[in-house]
Each structure stands twice: as structure tokens, then as C-alpha cells.
């Protein structure tokens, strides 16, 4: 008798709100916009838009999940993407040819990621502050590189933006990210760092190394997105990547990826959150909601999501 009761309580405990929340959010958003757009959300065209926008959010959120798991943050990803895009554009226009743009973008992003990681680990500045500083630098950097204007890429570059490229990246990152996060030492240690950095240190694990790897990965992803953006739009502008950070934060939160890190971080959260935000953005566009109003709505949802899913039990004082 008491055994069955214990089992029931255990099951209820397992299916707690934090677990349901991301699924619930996705269902609500999809249902809401399906009704509001009278089913247009699932037309071929809309789904293509979902994928086009979703690829940025997905890759970004996957990189973010590793950082979040460690209890860290990267504010600079959007402008990292912008700088990588600008550098790739210049390289594509140079004699090196359009294919050189790919390594150029990835390399730029990676270097910025490494610098972020080194700053955060060696100077011990809070990751939020350090990467915010980097964000300001890169914001200025884009303007300098582009000389304040828009740079056009060779048209041939746009031929690279194919469905197979997009699907390839999506599959690579979803499968690779899942394995890395849930089935490797790196993933385990990432969560351990989020749970207790001191315990990790006292277990002889070089946490700095893992943190730098996570920032490097994040930077490389921003670089890839810089190239994807260049191939998609054929140009590099000073606003390239400026919405990335916000969408990614939203996706991570709506996916239930805890900002405080630790063992409750789940990789599926990145995927679920991405779907939710991508459908939301596409749905709002279909409803002809202006960019400014979209920003406003996303902001409200952002705060609501934090308010609902933030794990207050494990956080006594918020800095």
C-alpha cells in the first residue's frame, strides 16, 4: 500500500512542471498561431521560413546550452556572427575566392570564442560582464570593417545556400550536440561545473579548459552562422546577427534550459525551445506584425518565461 503510494509520489515528482513546461510552451505557441493564421503556419512556404530562421536559433541555442550548463553566458554571439559575416564577405570578394569565405567565417568566430573563454577563465570577470564587453567591441568592430556601410558578396556565393546545406548543418549539430552533451565526459563535466565549480576543482578537473572549449564551440557556431547569413542574404551589414542573442536567450528559456546550469540541463531543451521561438517568429510575421511590435512581444514572453520557469528553490539571492 505505502509502496504504491511512494511510486505514485515519485512519478508525480518526476513529471514536474519544469519538465512539462517546454512541451507545453511549444504546443500552445503552435496551436495559437495555427488558429490565428488559419492554418497558414503549416504551408510549405511558412515551414521554409521556419527553417530559415530556425537554423540560426537552433545552432546558437545548442552552443548556449553548453555555456548555460556551466552557469555561464555569452552576450557577444550576435555581433560575433556579424563580424564573422563581414570578414567572410571581404574574403569572398578578394582573390581568395568564395570558398575561402567558409574557413574565414569559422576561423573568425572561433578566435573570438577563444578570446572570450580566456578572458572569462583567466581574469575571472563574470561571464555576463566579460562577454558584454566583447559585444560592445564587436559592435564597433563591424562598423570599422564595413566602414559603416553595407558590403555585397559575389552573387555566386548565394548559390551555396541550399536546402542540403541547411539540413546538413541542422542534422550535424542536433546529433553531434546531443552526443557531446549527453554521452561524453565533456557534457558530464559541463553540468558538474554548473552544479559546483569548487567541487569540480577539488576533484582535480581543469574546469578552465572545459570553459574555454565551450566558448570556442560557441564562437565557431557564431562563425558558421555568419557564413550562413552571408550566403542567404548575399551581404554583410552592421545589423547582421543583431537579433540572434535575443532569440537564442528566448529559445533557451522556453526550452527549459536553466540559466543556473547544473544537472537538470537537458539537450532536448535547445531543440524544443528553438521550435517554439521559430514558430512564434514565423507566426507573427504571417500575421503581419511589425518588427518593432514583434520585439515587444518577444520581450514580454521572455520575462514571462523567466518568471514561470526560473528555479527559485536553488537560488536564494540573485545578483
Amino acid at each position: 500500500m505505502s509502496d504504491t503510494k511512494a511510486v505514485i509520489i515519485k512519478t508525480v515528482k518526476k513529471i514536474n512542471f519544469q519538465t512539462i513546461f517546454p512541451f507545453l510552451g511549444l504546443i500552445i505557441i503552435v496551436a495559437l498561431f495555427t488558429i490565428l493564421t488559419k492554418g497558414k503556419l503549416f504551408s510549405n512556404n511558412s515551414l521554409r521560413v521556419v527553417m530559415n530562421d530556425g537554423i540560426y536559433i537552433l545552432l546558437g541555442t545548442i552552443g548556449f546550452t553548453f555555456l548555460f550548463a556551466m552557469g555561464m553566458m555569452d552576450f557577444s554571439i550576435g555581433y560575433n556572427m556579424g563580424v564573422s559575416c563581414a570578414v567572410a564577405c571581404i574574403v569572398a570578394n578578394s582573390s581568395a575566392g568564395i570558398y575561402a569565405a567558409i574557413p574565414a567565417a569559422i576561423l573568425t568566430g572561433t578566435i573570438i570564442g577563444v578570446v572570450n573563454g580566456v578572458i572569462v577563465t583567466k581574469t575571472k570577470i563574470m561571464s555576463m560582464i566579460a562577454t558584454m564587453g566583447m559585444m560592445f567591441i564587436l559592435q564597433g568592430g563591424v562598423l570599422v570593417i564595413l566602414n559603416g556601410s553595407v558590403l555585397q558578396a559575389p552573387l555566386a556565393l548565394m548559390d551555396l545556400y541550399t536546402n542540403s546545406l541547411k539540413i546538413g548543418f541542422i542534422l550535424l549539430f542536433v546529433i553531434g550536440g546531443y552526443i557531446l552533451f549527453e554521452l561524453t565526459i565533456f557534457g558530464r563535466v559541463a553540468k558538474a561545473i554548473g552544479a559546483s565549480p569548487e567541487a569540480v576543482r577539488q576533484t582535480g578537473i581543469n574546469a578552465d579548459k572545459y570553459k574555454i572549449i565551450a566558448y570556442t564551440l560557441m564562437g565557431a557556431i557564431a562563425g558558421i552562422l555568419g557564413f550562413v547569413s552571408l550566403a542567404r542574404t548575399g551581404s554583410a551589414t552592421n545589423t547582421t546577427g543583431s537579433t540572434l542573442m535575443f532569440n537564442v536567450m528566448n529559445a533557451a528559456l522556453l526550452g527549459g534550459v536553466p540559466m543556473t546550469g547544473g544537472p537538470t540541463t537537458k539537450f532536448r531543451g535547445a531543440v524544443l525551445g528553438t521550435l517554439t521561438v521559430s514558430f512564434m517568429v514565423t507566426g507573427m510575421t504571417l500575421l503581419r506584425i511589425s518588427a518593432q511590435n514583434q520585439q515587444l512581444i518577444k520581450g514580454i514572453i521572455f520575462l514571462t518565461a523567466i518568471g514561470i520557469c526560473f528555479d527559485r528553490k536553488n537560488m536564494k539571492v540573485i545578483k
Binding site: 554521452l183 561524453t184 557534457g187 558530464r188 553540468k191 552544479a195 577539488q202 576533484t203 582535480g204 544537472p263
Partner: protein
């Protein structure tokens, strides 16, 4: 029960955490001028019931009466206003503020004039508060971080006493205090008793309880067992009531031989670091080396240095083969393990599962290439955790749900699984109940017999004497005495070298 001399009555108290029943129908009565001891193993509910009285937690159901009036405080502020105050087991002070500001935290308005804080008046008042608890040696204007652990605890006591409570709850506070600090606390308790106020005193140290308390209430697994008056105190009986079965009087090592092996496995040479001044010693294979001293004698930092967590200012740490140890990673390569005194913050990830904690040190062993599979982790735990008999629902249970003793077992399982040869244990039985304590002593003896070496740093002299092959006593950062294991060793002898 006459209402007249009852100060606090607790009736039919229930409290659960998830499926754990912390309290089941517990009733207590606290008389005026009484020092009531609460004893019981970890998880028996003694901290829970007293924190409910101080409103740090809320009960599921049950009634409380303070001075005959219904008493249902919603917050610790309200409890304090009614005169119930608790000194916590863990530290509850602010390192960066001064002693005075710590004492008056939340009461700053007492010293505000025209919107400005009168620091001088506050420091003067703090002085009076410290003198009132006989802690004359603490200066009120210093930042708290400049004080040692014990004095910080006393600042907390001063803060509690300043509110002039009718009921003071002392929860395991004395484990952090040396003899001097303990005497201060006992004096306060006696003063309160003389004034007709009451104390609820929680401690693991049965001898201390029997010395200090007028009455003892025993709890076990959240159930009220019995209340015994001073004239009927009898240690074996109390111990049996706590554990629920017969406990051997002596749970330390029984042999009296000291380590005979001469092979050196760890060598510290002329270490200077913070409080530590020029300390050198060698640890031998198959030896339990006990370190004793007052809380601030430098022995805890020495454990840190030996594991490479803190680099010494001067001197070297070497493994048996002469390799220098500069960081935890190098220490682990030489199969050294370290369990911190602050187990919950520094050794364990309490928000993680038992599995994650035990595996953390051994991912290289468990993994296949870069990959880790659940079944390998499970196998690893099966191999290393089952000997320790950790009381758990399953290996995915969160460590924070375990009792102190079981947490310590998880910490030990982590290092046993790693395959350590040298264990540095800082206060290995701090805040752990008798039952698990004897498990840990037994395990230490087994490790020793297997030829592993242990450095045991402890503030409990009885366990150092009971377990060590060799004892080193530190005083003000220097070695003041070294002793071989022998029958006639007494605590008094060691204390003479400590102070």
C-alpha cells in the same frame, strides 16, 4: 503538566520533505530555566523541530504555545520578536562587513540619525554586546573576514543574544568552537537559565549533552522516543535509545600497534602558508596520521596544501617518488584524495545525483574513448558504492536529500572508486551521527590494513587518539608535539600542547 512553568509547548508536530517524514507526532515541553538537550542520529528530526520553533521552517501540522499563548510564527523575524532565536549549524554571517555590522544586521535603524548611520555608536554598542557574552577579545570595528572561524561563530552568538531571547536554540554550534569558545557558550546558557530563560541544545557529543543539559529528549527517525531527567542520565542507555540498538562503547580501532612500515608516500617540507609556519612531516604507507589543534591552528589549510589546492608561500609537497605536487590534478595522478571539512560546498555537488558525484573523479576510467554510457556508470557504482551501504532510494537520488553521514559516504565512494592510495580527510565525522561514524572508522581501519595512508585532520581529540598511528599537534601554525599511538594517551595531555 502545569502551565505555569512551561515556556514553550509543542504538540503533535508533523513535517515531511517529499516522502521523507522528518517529524511524526512529536510533542515537547520546555520549562522556564531549563536547558533541554535534543539528541538523535542524523535525520532524527532534532534540527527540524527546533528550526520550526524558530520559524526557519514551517510545520505541516501541529500546535505550539509560547508562555501559554498560541504561537504560530510565519517568519524568523516574527519568532525573534516573540523571543525565540536560533544559532545555526552552518555559518550565517557576512564576511565583508565589520563585526559591528554583522551583529546589528537588520537593526541598523537603531543607529540612524538624520538618515546617516552613526558608525561610532554602532561599534560602541557592539562592544557592549560582545562583552555581554564574555567575548572581550573580539574587536567590533574589524571586518569579519579577519576573524577566525570560531570568533565568527561567537559574533553570531552575540547577535542572537543582543535580541535578548527567551528561548535560545543552539544547533551543533559547539562543533565549530574550541574549548574557550565552548566555555563562553556554556556560560551564556547558564546565565539564561539563572534568569529563568530556556535553551534548546542540539549536539552530537553525548558527553557534552550530559554535562550541559538538565533534561534530554531523544528523537529517532522523526519519532519521539523519551525524555530523561539529569539524575537518570546514563550514556549507554541514551546511545541505545538514539540508535535503537545496542552500540559498542568503543567504536575506534582496538589494536594498539602503530604503523611499522617506513616507506614514505607523502612528504611536506618546510611549508609556510597563511597561518602555517615551517611545518615538515612525512606520511608513511599504511599509516593513519592524525592532526589535531584548535580550529585556527592551521591544520585545515595544511590539508589544502597537501592536495595542491592552495600553493604554499614557501616549502614543497612531494609524493613518495619525489614528484612535486602543485595542483589537485598532479595530486590525483599520485592517487591522493581530499575530502574537505566543508563537504557540502567543496567536495560534493549536492544538487546532483549520487551517481554523478561518485563518478565525477573517475570519468577517465568509466568512459569508452570520449563516450560515457549509463550502464557503465551504473556498473561502476555497483562496484564501489555497495560496500559503503549508503542509505538511498536509488543512485539517481539527489545528494542534498541525504543525511550528513550518507553524504560523507558518497564522498568516500567517489575516492574509493577513483582508487586513491592516500586519503586526506578534513573532519571526516563532522556533523555525523554515531551509527555512521563507526562505519567510517571501520572503513578507515580497513583502508589502513590494505596499505593505504590517511591524513586525518580533526577537531575531535577522542577520534584522533582513537584512530591515529601517529598524532601531530599544531599550535599557532607550528608543530608543538608529535606522539606515537599508545594506550595511556589522554585528551588532557594533547590539550596542553594545543593551547
Amino acid at each position: 503538566m502545569s502551565q505555569g512553568d512551561s515556556l514553550l509547548i509543542i504538540e503533535h508536530m508533523y513535517k515531511s520533505f517529499g516522502i521523507t517524514k522528518a517529524l511524526q507526532d512529536v510533542s515537547l515541553e520546555l520549562r522556564r530555566g531549563q536547558i533541554l538537550g535534543l539528541i538523535g542520529e542524523n535525520g532524527s528530526g532534532k534540527s527540524t523541530i527546533s528550526s520550526i520553533a524558530a520559524a526557519l521552517q514551517l510545520a505541516d501540522s501541529g500546535e505550539m504555545y509560547l508562555e501559554g499563548q498560541p504561537y504560530h510564527p510565519k517568519s524568523s523575524v516574527e519568532a525573534l520578536a516573540r523571543g525565540v532565536c536560533m544559532i545555526l549549524q552552518e555559518k550565517g554571517t557576512f564576511d565583508l562587513l565589520t563585526v559591528a555590522k554583522n551583529i546589528f544586521v537588520g537593526k541598523e535603524e537603531l543607529f540612524v540619525k538624520h538618515g546617516f548611520l552613526n558608525n561610532k555608536a554602532m561599534i560602541q554598542e557592539a562592544r557592549r554586546a560582545l562583552d555581554a557574552i564574555h567575548a572581550t577579545h573580539i574587536q567590533a570595528n574589524l571586518p569579519l573576514s579577519s576573524l577566525n572561524f570560531e570568533d565568527r561563530k561567537l559574533v553570531e552568538v552575540a547577535r542572537a543574544m543582543y535580541s535578548n531571547p527567551k528561548i535560545l536554540v543552539v544547533d551543533e554550534t559547539t562543533t565549530a568552537l574550541s574549548r574557550g569558545g565552548r566555555d563562553i557558550l556554556y556560560k551564556i546558557m547558564q546565565d539564561m537559565k539563572a534568569e529563568g530563560k530556556s535553551v534548546i541544545f542540539i549536539s552530537h557529543d553525548l558527553a557534552e549533552i550530559m554535562e550541559v543539559c538538565d533534561t534530554v529528549t531523544i528523537l529517532r527517525d522523526g519519532i519521539y522516543i523519551d525524555t530523561i531527567e539529569k539524575e537518570h542520565f546514563h550514556a549507554p542507555t541514551l546511545r541505545r535509545m538514539m540508535v535503537g540498538r545496542e552500540v559498542a562503547e568503543n567504536y575506534y580501532r582496538t589494536d594498539m600497534e602503530s604503523c611499522k612500515k617506513s616507506e614514505v608516500v607523502l612528504k611536506m617540507e618546510q611549508i609556510c602558508c597563511r597561518d602555517v609556519k615551517d611545518v615538515s612531516f612525512e606520511l608513511h604507507k599504511g599509516e593513519i596520521l592524525g592532526f589535531g589543534g584548535l580550529g585556527d591552528c592551521g591544520m585545515h589549510i595544511l590539508g589544502n596544501v597537501a592536495f595542491g589546492l592552495t600553493g604554499p608561500d614557501l616549502g614543497t609537497v612531494k609524493a613518495g617518488d619525489g614528484t612535486l605536487i602543485k595542483n589537485p590534478n598532479m595530486a590525483m595522478k599520485k592517487k591522493i584524495a581530499y575530502i574537505s571539512k566543508n563537504r557540502d560546498q567543496e567536495t560534493l555537488m549536492v544538487s546532483c545525483s549520487i551517481k554523478d558525484n561518485v563518478c565525477l573523479a573517475s570519468y577517465n576510467k568509466i568512459s569508452k574513448g570520449p563516450f560515457i554510457f549509463k550502464k557503465d556508470e551504473q556498473k561502476f557504482i555497483q562496484e564501489h558504492a555497495k560496500d559503503l551501504d549508503i542509505k538511498m532510494q536509488n543512485i539517481d537520488q539527489y545528494v542534498m536529500e541525504l543525511s550528513g553521514g550518507n553524504k560523507q559516504k558518497v564522498a568516500l565512494a567517489k575516492w574509493l572508486g577513483f582508487g586513491a592510495d592516500i586519503f586526506i580527510m578534513d573532519c571526516p565525522t563532522r556533523g555525523i551521527d554515531i551509527g555512521v561514524k563507526s562505519n567510517i572508522y571501520q572503513l578507515m581501519t580497513e583502508l589502513r590494513d590494505q596499505g593505504k595512508s590517511i591524513i586525518m585532520i580533526s577537531e575531535e581529540l577522542s577520534e584522533i587518539i582513537g584512530m591515529s598511528d601517529r598524532i601531530i599537534i599544531l599550535k599557532e601554525g607550528q608543530i608543538s608535539g608529535e606522539f606515537k599511538r599508545e594506550e595511556k594517551m589522554t585528551e588532557h595531555l594533547l590539550i596542553d600542547y594545543m593551547v
